[in-house]
């Protein structure tokens, strides 16, 4: 009986030790007072894939497949630094931003791939933004038509300039209206960011 009690005592000590060892690594508890908003900055923008400038209307017969209104794709990859200034880890729930070529908003990009950022560390997030001439044409026409007209240009001229200039990093590409949502405990902070590259 006594031997059994000793065994049980050892088992309990082991369980408590395991429990406490978990607590040993615990960091400061997030509170409304000590939860600082993480900082998001644009590290770089890479022209991940460029295919030149071209556009085919659906009146043109393709070599294979069905005709459609299609234009050259352009794939831009944005790398952000996400710095956690807190003494506890934070969860980045999502990150979104608008992309503008010169002063024309053309895309809204987001990622919902959540990630933990350790206390005091900086993670990097890479987000691809896909553009194509057709989609950007339509977006530009409904959001920037009057502005282009006022500037004495038109959508086609602007698209050609961007599709040929951006692969050479000659046209400024802006990240605007950026917002990243962070959680710590049951609290939420939203970091805002904007930048232009190059």
């Amino acid at each position: 009986m006594r031997k059994k009690n000793v065994l049980l005592m050892i088992l309990c000590v082991f369980v408590v030790a395991v429990f406490l060892s978990g607590c040993a690594g615990m960091q400061a508890k997030p509170t409304a007072k000590n939860f600082k908003t993480p900082v998001v900055t644009l590290d770089s923008m890479e022209v991940a894939h460029a295919f030149g400038y071209w556009y085919f209307s659906n009146k043109v017969k393709p070599t294979k497949g069905k005709p459609d209104n299609v234009g050259a794709p352009l794939d831009l990859a944005f790398t952000f630094n996400v710095e956690n200034p807190n003494t506890f880890p934070v969860l980045m729930e999502n990150l979104k931003f608008a992309v503008a070529f010169e002063e024309f908003d053309l895309n809204m990009v987001s990622t919902n791939a959540a990630q933990w950022i350790p206390a005091g560390k900086t993670n990097q997030v890479n987000v691809h933004a896909h553009f194509d001439v057709r989609q950007s044409l339509l977006s530009l026409l409904v959001t920037g038509g009057f502005k282009l007209k006022a500037e004495g240009t038109n959508a086609w001229a602007a698209l050609e300039k961007w599709w040929t200039g951006i692969p050479n990093y000659e046209i400024p590409v802006s990240v605007k209206e950026g917002a990243a949502v962070f959680n710590a405990g049951d609290m939420v902070k939203v970091a805002t960011f904007k930048a232009t590259f190059p």
Binding site: L8, F19, N107, M108, S139, V142, E177, A179, V190, T192
Partner: protein, 415 residues
């Protein structure tokens, strides 16, 4: 014996604690998955971006206020750039992700997906308010929280006929004249034209030649010059805001002299910014209150806009944010009702959720919503606003069901 009992209780307690701690990380597994298909970059991005922001902010609000009976919504929100093939691809992804319902977008993709949605039995709450989606025997899983386009058009024409026509010099001397400006090839723009003409005919209008105005138009002079021959008293516009602004500008510049009636997607806070003086006196249908107006829940809409998108100035936010909220809150209510009976399958969300709503009040200035098994027109009321002196003012509320109960019940459903 006593010691043994204490020890066994202690051990049981410790193992229970360990089990609870170990499984606490799985709490998220109970999330309810919802897909959201939005246009933030394509042909309707002038209105679609703000709607998409509203959806995401509303889901945050729903989760912060108890979720779906304690379960959180996990939102999968994708941009499809208003490309129908991509909408189909995203829809298939939502199915793979086991989304219980979808918050959809435009008329083109919503109508294209309707048969698939019906086959898959997935509730699809769209931002297309096409009257074609309201007949459950054809499109049982399509729903929305708004006055449908046909009811909007009928309401606009009726309100103008009552409020404005009697003030015109030719009142009682001849028939009022109306013409319609829209993109012929767009299912969205042309969705309510048949109903609009039916209403105009019923009220005794003379109907002029339709004008094909592209959604991307910035120059509408030739159409306005054609209309000058007809001399309309009023124009009905069913495009989105930029092309409506272009039409108003050219109509003003060429002194057409007609009043303007505008369906919901062409009548927002950006219209006066784009059309300037030409927007003065424009009349539009808005089933929801404009952003920031003093109506129930608007404080939350503004609070969440500030909280989750602080980089976007509030003056850039529009009524489309409120629309996004209406869709998300309406769906959440249906999910709560279905969840209460323990069944979140598509048929249950439809029958135990949406179709149990009888005069359900969302807030946000929206008329109460009712769905039945035979009629998915959630509202029969068209709220008519006038833009004057920098303000949107409610000038009329036309309840089509009350005014024409027989036609509402027997003739107008589904178109």
């Amino acid at each position: 014996m006593f010691n043994r009992s204490i020890w066994s209780k202690f051990l049981t307690f410790m193992f229970a604690v360990i089990l609870i701690m170990g499984f606490s990380s799985m709490a998220g597994a109970a999330d309810i998955r919802v897909g959201s298909l939005n246009d933030m970059t394509g042909a309707t991005s002038d209105v679609g971006k703000d709607y998409a922001l509203g959806i995401a902010e509303a889901i945050h609000y729903i989760n912060d206020t108890g979720g779906i009976n304690g379960k959180k919504i996990k939102l999968y929100q994708f941009d499809y750039g208003y490309r129908i093939p991509e909408a189909l691809t995203k829809y298939n992804l939502f199915k793979r992700l086991k989304c219980v319902a979808i918050l959809g977008w435009g008329t083109g993709d919503t109508e294209a997906l309707a048969p698939t949605v019906a086959r898959d039995k997935i509730p699809y709450v769209s931002a297309s308010y096409s009257g074609h989606l309201c007949k459950p025997e054809k499109t049982p899983y399509n729903l929305f929280f708004a006055t449908d386009y046909s009811t909007q058009s009928r309401g606009l024409i009726t309100a103008w006929y009552r409020k404005k026509w009697p003030t015109k010099p030719d009142y009682n001397k001849r028939k009022p004249r109306i013409a319609m400006c829209y993109m012929f090839a767009s299912p969205f723009s042309s969705a309510s034209i048949k109903a609009a003409k039916d209403q105009a005919k019923m009220l005794g209008f003379e109907i002029g030649p339709d004008q094909d105005v592209s959604l991307f138009a910035i120059d509408v002079k030739s159409q306005i010059l054609t209309l000058k021959e007809f001399k309309p008293d009023v124009l009905l516009h069913t495009n989105t805001v930029m092309s409506v602004a272009a039409t108003l500008r050219d109509s003003y510049a060429l002194e057409l002299g007609a009043d303007n009636l505008i369906k919901c997607w062409g009548f927002d806070e950006n219209l006066p910014k784009l059309a300037g003086k030409a927007a003065e006196g424009a009349i539009g249908c808005a089933p929801w209150a404009f952003f920031g107006l003093d109506v129930p829940l608007m404080d939350k809409v503004v609070e969440y806009a500030k909280k989750y998108n602080p980089g976007i100035p509030l003056e850039k936010r529009t009524v489309h944010t409120v629309q996004g909220w209406a869709s998300a809150l309406g769906l959440a209510e249906a999910l709560k009702r279905a969840d209460k009976v323990g069944d979140l399958s598509g048929p249950s969300i439809l029958k135990n959720g949406f179709e149990t709503m009888k005069g359900y009040e969302i807030g946000l200035g929206i008329a109460p919503a009712t769905f039945t098994a035979t009629d998915h027109r959630s509202q029969s009321e068209a709220k008519i606003y006038e833009y004057k002196s920098g303000k949107f003012t409610l000038i009329d509320e036309v309840d089509l069901k009350k005014e024409w109960p027989d036609k509402w019940a027997n003739e107008w459903l589904g178109w």
